[in-house]
Amino acid sequence: MSVAAHALPVPLTALPRGARALVHCVLDETPVIDDALHSTVGQRLVELGFVHGVEVEVVETMWPVGDPLAVRVRGSTFALRRREASAILVTLA
């Protein structure tokens, strides 16, 4: 097994275009989307399928700093900003 498999979780934003990884977790502290609705980015990310053990693939990234990026998860593709994607910790598959 490669060293990477035992590596510490890294934010999804650390992956280059075309890379695959497994979701480790979504951080607890994420930006609040709407105060009145008590919704957070983290809650929504979990609802979209970013849960432990799921494979994700970075399919496209935008210049100049990879913001936003497009991520494939469980057969659907989502565009995320770096700020949202950095809340997702992944381990390299």
Partner: protein
């Protein structure tokens, strides 16, 4: 019991589903053209209701709820869906049966929502949509097994096929309107506060359930990957987007021109004909200048609206629009706008009315408002005649390097509008929603060919909304303006132009006090009153004030020497600056009122546009005075 004699009450059903699951196509399939499109009270969220009858003659009322990933909402639209499902919306009956629409080819998102809805314990059916597509991909979901696992009926549908909803209609027949609620196992949850742990548990359940019913996750096809590699490429994608935007702009701006000219000359000819057969007088004037001209001013927008929405619907249905929003997110997100705002804003360069209506396609209500509020700052085509007249009168056609000074001024005016829009958007973001973060979290659905039936119905929707609900306001405003400009009639033996003696003339003269500090003379103030109808009307109104009866084509050349000799340079430049903001288009304000369902936004819009216009004109006037002194 004799079923024929049993009185079956209307069954209220509501379609619930994640965005891009084909829910609206299924709604169109169920209800056909029997649809009512309105807004939920007080918000810019679209409410779509329709109806149909089954073979037993029972009537169904169908509500197409806004697409929602979850019952823990992040947007106003999702909050509406949750509130309707829970029966919390005043004046909205809680649906008897929830139809959860699932996309058989993208099950994980749909199934999670279904499991969440099921916890409510409300009567529900799962419509397994796009089941034809799933079979094409080589798998068929085990409907019976899924129904057993969920404890609710599961029915396959194909929204794009003629009889694709028949099984669903038959399945619904077994439900009683307001009957006893069959308890769903583990149901009747009332607390929907977002709960991460609960959501994670559900999410762990999803892949197990899907594996048991034979679901296969769609692989990214090579064609889709190749298309994304180009269309979402930072450079190539931008080039394609530029070409697409140019095509849309070109279409709205120039393809719409000849049908618009045709409508205008048709209305003009009809008015002249009616004017010819009726004796001159109040009735003739009301019919020709009030009603016929008023109706004409409404339907003249139709070509632009049709062309614009044709492009938007094709781009949206094909899956391109979210990708364009991805490309533009950094650009537009910086000032707090959605990447999707670019089409409404672009079309506002032709006319703010189709632009503001196009904001309906922006998924989040907050983004919609922000886009609507700055749309009138895009220089619309109605301002061109005014610009053309004033630039020709006051700006010398001198060459500056490779450029012409007149062209540079025109460019500056357009640019100033865009700059002001960015500024206003930034201020709104800074002060209206500073406590919350506005995520992108945008799904990029698979590419697909647009469905012609849905396209046609979408276009028909827009035409109906515009004609019925917006047309009424614009038409009544036109008639009021006609009245103000025609009455009272000039006294016998009067020498000045008739408009001088009318209410509009009096109003304009009274307003002159307001406009004098920014260098406007009373003729401009009077012309601005009928100019409320549409910005370009100010030119013909100026012609009326200066007592010219030349036809439209000759009017500009007749007006040109008069204003260039009688107005000061400062007055001309000040009016140019005023028209960057041009707060006086009543049709625009009427559309904003209709789209936002409140007076709040049109009033704020009129207020801030007026303030900016006044400020810009005041500075221009003062600076010009100081420099030419």
């Amino acid at each position: 019991m004799d079923t024929a004699n049993r009185q079956l009450a209307d069954l209220h059903i509501a379609l619930v589903g994640v965005p891009n699951c084909g829910k609206t196509a299924l709604f169109n399939r169920l209800t056909g053209s029997r649809q009512k499109v309105a807004n939920y009270p007080g918000v810019t969220v679209e409410r779509k209701e329709g109806g149909f009858r089954d073979r037993n003659g029972r009537h169904y009322r169908v509500l197409d709820l806004p697409g929602a990933y979850s019952l823990s909402p992040t947007t106003l639209d999702e909050a509406i869906t949750r509130d309707v499902v829970l029966g919390r919306v005043a004046g909205e009956r809680q649906p008897d049966v929830l139809v959860c629409v699932a996309d058989a080819t993208h099950m994980p998102l749909s199934l999670r929502l279904i499991l969440e809805v099921r916890r409510l314990g409300h009567p529900m059916v799962v419509a397994l949509n796009r089941s034809d597509l799933a079979r094409k991909r080589g798998f068929r979901l085990d409907v019976a097994k899924l129904a057993t696992a969920l404890g609710v009926p599961v029915i396959e549908t194909v929204a794009i096929a003629p009889a694709g909803a028949e099984a669903l209609i038959q399945g619904l027949a077994s439900f009683e309107a307001r009957g006893p609620v069959p308890a769903v196992e583990g149901g009747a949850v009332c607390d929907l506060a977002p709960d991460r742990a609960q959501t994670e548990r559900t999410q762990q359940l999803v892949p197990q359930m899907l594996a048991e019913v034979g679901y296969r996750e769609p692989l990214r096809t090579r064609a889709a990957a190749r298309a994304d590699a180009i269309l979402m490429h930072p450079a190539a994608g931008m080039l394609v987007l530029g070409a697409v935007l140019f095509l849309v702009f070109q279409a709205v701006f120039s393809w719409a021109e000849w049908p618009m000219d045709l409508i205008e000359s048709g209305v003009g000819a009809f008015g002249a004909w009616v004017g010819g057969i009726l004796p001159a007088g109040a009735l003739q004037s009301l019919l020709v200048n009030g009603i016929i001209a008023g109706v004409g001013s409404v339907i003249v927008f139709l070509p632009q609206i049709l062309i614009l929405f044709f492009f938007i619907l094709v781009l949206e249905d094909s899956g391109y629009l979210p990708r364009a929003a991805y490309l533009l997110d950094r650009l537009m997100g910086g000032v707090g706008l959605s990447g999707r705002a670019f089409i409404p804003l672009l079309s506002s360069f032709a006319c703010a009315i189709p632009g503001i209506m196009a904001a309906r396609t922006i998924p989040s209500a907050r983004d919609r408002i922000a886009t609507i509020m700055i749309a009138p700052l895009m220089t619309c085509s109605a301002r061109l005649p005014v610009y053309a007249l004033l630039i020709a009168a006051f700006i010398p056609a001198r060459a500056i390097g490779p450029f012409n000074l007149q062209g540079l001024v025109l460019f500056t005016l357009y640019f100033a509008g865009v700059l002001a829009a960015l500024g206003v958007a930034w201020v709104m973001k800074r002060f209206l929603s500073k406590r919350s973060y506005h995520p992108l979290l945008l799904e990029l659905p698979d590419y697909q060919w647009p469905d012609l039936r849905s396209l046609a119905m979408g276009l028909w929707d827009r035409v109906r909304i515009f004609m019925r609900r917006v047309g009424g306001i614009i038409l009544s405003l036109m008639i009021v303006l006609w009245f103000l400009s025609s009455y009272p009639a000039p006294p016998p033996g009067a020498t000045g132009p008739a408009i001088e003696y009318s209410f509009a003339g009096m109003l304009g003269r009274a307003l002159h006090v307001v406009f004098a500090p920014i260098g406007f003379n009373w003729q401009i103030a009077v012309a601005l009153v009928p100019g409320l109808a549409a910005r370009e009307v100010a030119v013909s109104a100026l012609g009326t004030v200066y007592a010219m009866s030349a036809s439209d084509a000759a009017l500009e050349s007749a007006l040109l020497p008069v204003i260039s000799s009688t107005w000061s340079l400062g007055t001309g430049l000040s009016l140019l600056a005023w028209y960057i903001f041009a707060p006086q288009c009543l049709s625009t304000l009427a559309v904003v009122k209709r789209e936002t369902q409140s007076w709040r936004y049109p009033l704020i819009m009129a207020g801030y546009l007026f303030a900016l216009a006044y400020l810009a004109s005041f500075i221009t006037w003062r600076v010009t005075l100081a420099l030419s002194a």
